[in-house]
Symmetry: D2
Subunit: 340 residues, 4 copies
């Protein structure tokens, strides 16, 4: 019945968190793999929603189990500190690791400790970690052993900004401003007054600025310098979705269509980036529960002001979906398998 002759087993640690549960949901639709739920002490909460008619078995997240089950790949949907602790051992079992935390996203251990405020105990792994943004680094993914899945905010920001930087049409002296808004699931599944219903519902607040851990990820992958990029992270009273309103001063752009052409050229073969006609803007509804990142803009010729809007589902293209996209590329499945 299945187009794949056999299914490869892949593990998920942290399957009770929002990203982890989303990952399991996607993997269950994937004809080429079978998810194995690996129970770990860091898992946020005992109760989970049923994930299907036949619940999946869980086994303890030990190296022995990973070896015994011959897991081709293990996803880590865990806090950075847990990912750092687990990754070296899992790599030794021969399994590929896709880490959804920030543990290996930055350049090196020093940058990590500057932004995450703690020492990195596996600095030797930075050189082999591939930053899993396929639209930029697709050719590094087949055969990669350790893939660092991008942060939710940086995914949308980089996809929206980098084509303009590469085309050298940004007046960088004016800086780029990214006013970002995210649903609450981005904060993870845990008891916290700040993300409790009555604090968030019917509310909206700015909570992160230039000190946000996602800022260096944008800088590193967009080509912008720290003083060229201004960032605000804001909390939307909704479950899932990120929308970023990005303010750019362009140079040498003659028409809105010219600006669109830059994006079209950059993303012409990309299955998960959708571009909108000038003046049309994506909203969150267009991308929720999908692996798309949608980009639209308005452009004022006289003043060379462009307002770019990028939207994605923070749990899909911003986390679990992109992780499966990376798995597909790393293990040799079609890139869009289980994602359309």
């Amino acid at each position: 019945m299945n187009k794949y002759t056999d299914r490869r087993q892949v593990g998920v640690i942290g399957f009770r968190g929002y990203s982890g549960a989303e990952l399991v949901r996607i993997l269950r639709r994937h004809p080429g793999v079978e998810p194995v739920l690996l129970e770990h002490r860091s898992d946020p909460a005992p109760e989970v929603q049923p994930l299907g008619r036949t619940p999946l078995q869980t086994i303890p997240a030990t190296l022995e189990a990973i070896r015994r089950e011959q897991l081709a790949l293990v996803f880590l949907a865990t806090p950075a500190a847990v990912s750092i602790e687990l990754t070296p051992g899992i790599l030794e079992t021969g399994s590929v690791v896709i880490d959804l935390s920030g543990a290996f996203r930055l350049r090196d251990a020093e940058t990590y400790s500057r932004w995450y405020g703690e020492r990195h105990t596996a600095p030797e792994l930075f050189h082999q970690a591939v930053y899993g943004l396929p639209e930029f680094y697709r050719d590094r993914l087949p055969g990669a052993r350790l893939i660092s899945n991008p942060g939710c905010y940086p995914t949308a920001a980089n996809l929206a900004i980098r084509p303009l930087i590469d085309a050298e049409v940004v007046d960088r002296s004016r800086g780029i401003i990214c006013d970002a808004k995210s649903g609450v699931s981005g904060a993870g599944r845990k008891a916290s007054l700040k993300t409790s219903f009555c604090e968030v519902d019917e509310n909206f607040s700015a909570y992160g600025f230039m000190e946000h851990r996602h800022v260096p990820e944008v800088l590193q992958n967009s080509g912008l310098g720290e003083r060229e990029f201004t960032f605000t992270a804001q909390l939307l009273p909704l479950h899932r979705g990120i929308l970023e309103t990005i303010y750019v001063r362009t140079q040498r752009i003659g028409t809105a269509v010219e600006l669109l052409a830059i994006y079209e050229e950059f993303y012409k073969d990309e299955p998960f980036v959708r571009l909108y006609a000038p003046g049309k803007m994506p909203d969150l509804r267009a991308v929720q529960h999908t692996n798309f990142c949608d980009i639209g803009f308005i452009f004022d010729l006289d003043s060379q002001r462009a307002t770019v809007v990028a939207a994605e589902d923070n749990l899909v293209k911003g986390a679990a979906g992109q992780a499966v996209q990376n798995m597909n590329l790393a293990l040799g499945f079609p890139e869009t398998e289980a994602l359309l």
Copy 2:
């Protein structure tokens, strides 16, 4: 300028919780009192929203401070265990206590420990505690020293049920069913996975049944027996408001207007109960941010089935507003002062 020659000072312990903060908001509009914020270790969280242009001073919640400030009355918006601990001492200072917890709502210490699962350490106070539902017990409130403010669910349930019981028009052999729905603020202000945004938002769940602590409060004040009353508590994805859909089999009711007349007679002088024409139902919007409890119903003559809907704001008529109503009656202010 003020119609009262001087303002009396009243204390609030637990002013950072949702009921406590609502209480302070109402008290600031009251021309006859001045709220004093009493800082207590049990207070749920350090950060509060600004409560006005001029923030109120806070002082430690000590008996000494209560004496020194000559507080006429102290509101306890604290957990039951804290209320039990604090009440005896405050009463000794000569201050009146209005307790918003369940500490003194039930008949006696045994009933308390059956439903609250812990021993009551101030059983001697039960005999002086007045259950502060003015619509039923108004004459006991002037001069009361300890007022036990009713629970949010029982306030609406009792106001909807008791007039029918007293008029003996309920077929009690069929039982009364109360399908209750509440906003999340009813759970209090604290970090908890169950009331975190992503668990509650776009969700709806039944979480409490006949074991709910509010059941005995309904039985005690409505005249119903345990087997005559079925209760379900459910969580609405919204901040404030309770709506109860109550199913009754009547007897000897000839027309919907006759049923309405029973309520009209019972509530004819009540400032905070609003009745709807037969077939019209209140929704939460009608009562949010008000001290009203609204009651509507539909009635099928042939089958003698009545579906009664009662709505209130759980933080106002279900907590802080009713507490101020009780204070007005206890201290001799007009009952509606600061509440319309």
Copy 3:
């Protein structure tokens, strides 16, 4: 690559409504069919969210087009009046019809006009319409020409009630009460003050009682009489999901496990009904974006009171998902194709 040698084309009229769009989303994941969007003047609104990287073509909803494209089946996600108008012609093209409206759900034209308030202009079709609730009528679906997809409220109510009626464990003299709550998408996609954001958000209201069009659908398929069933329809401030709290007096039930056994026997081979252990209740999160109907209950032995909770996604098991389940059975696909 595909397990089906070729894909059959199926049409969707009303693809811009919430049920219609959900249907297209599910059909795009179905390996055996190809959805064709049929543009009809009754369609609620010009703008739709992008439904994928490659937008689907739309063609006018004419009989000629249905013939030309050789559509195996046409889904009608249209108002009842439009379905009545379109069905006879489509059936003549040889295409199967699955109608998501109430046009053919009731017994006959008189019952229809009593509840829908308008004359039925295709009464001759009632005798061939199959009520598409596979859990009850699966054997009538293969080869059916006209399938009437059940209403959202009746699907959950019937699945929760009928096993108990069939087992004769309900004290019918006490009646069954169904306190139902639905998300707003159940009202369809149209401009209306009643379903506008500021009227619904943070609100909750009862809006339908025994006159609701879904009542006769429950009676017809559960075996209950009109006076044995009390119904309330209420509007939740959320997008999708129905939860029904159902109050039953049982007879001759010895233990909660015995009650569960009745459900287990009834649904033992059903892929889309999930049962919970006694005392565990489904919430909306468990079923949203799935084709499951989840059922849980609590039971009090002494008083023989059972409170049953049934939950489903009104757009999936309550509409589009069930429609695809029906299509799978009618056209000979595995019943769960595209639905797990």
Copy 4:
């Protein structure tokens, strides 16, 4: 009992809209006035929530009635076209007009028709209309006959921007960006697919840019030129509240405290502007149901970047509350009466 010897009657046209209903709610708390509800054909919807235990009488909105009732003042919570039609007649009755629409906010009839897309039929009134932003134009309000109540977005934007412009600390060559987010009540009370629950809930979208009617209001009162100001209006999935994130490049600012001092000097006597310590930001919760506009900021000395956040309740400081503030000033009441 009342501190005012008698209450003056004030009319409200458009009392069924969100701003109009809020206005009535505030006016009922005002000891110096008595609201009179004037029924007008433009009123959006027949049903309103009960506004108190004793419903207010409504009378037809005729000039005769306005004369007969000797209304000191009439509030127009009507669309601009209706306000333009009604204002001349009402002024002739001797009543003061406070108009909450955009009819008289701009400089003159030509500017009006450029932004509102229709001819202005009462251009002679522009010269006597006072723009009712008390923080800027307080001295023009006592004795004013026609007060044009500011738009919701411009109120927050102007309060946040103008102190910096006046102090000449803005590098205007870099432009000011205002990324604005509003709750849905800003769109008014009407049936519309765009503001229907299922389109807005769990969604977020950018819907207005430099063509938005509020842009010229900001320019006119802040001192900025069209190319110096970039604006985005975005829709939050919540009822009430506006938060604007404003990006400024400063010049010659030595410390964050220096920046704060500019605001403190500007607003030192203002009862309804609250300033936050550097690094602290207001959220919507802080201002909902209040007449405050709260302002906070972060400042990076090296790059002279300031991110300013201004928050208000669009129905209060952004509409009805500010209208009462204007009434208080126009009729000689204390400015904060009924607003604290």
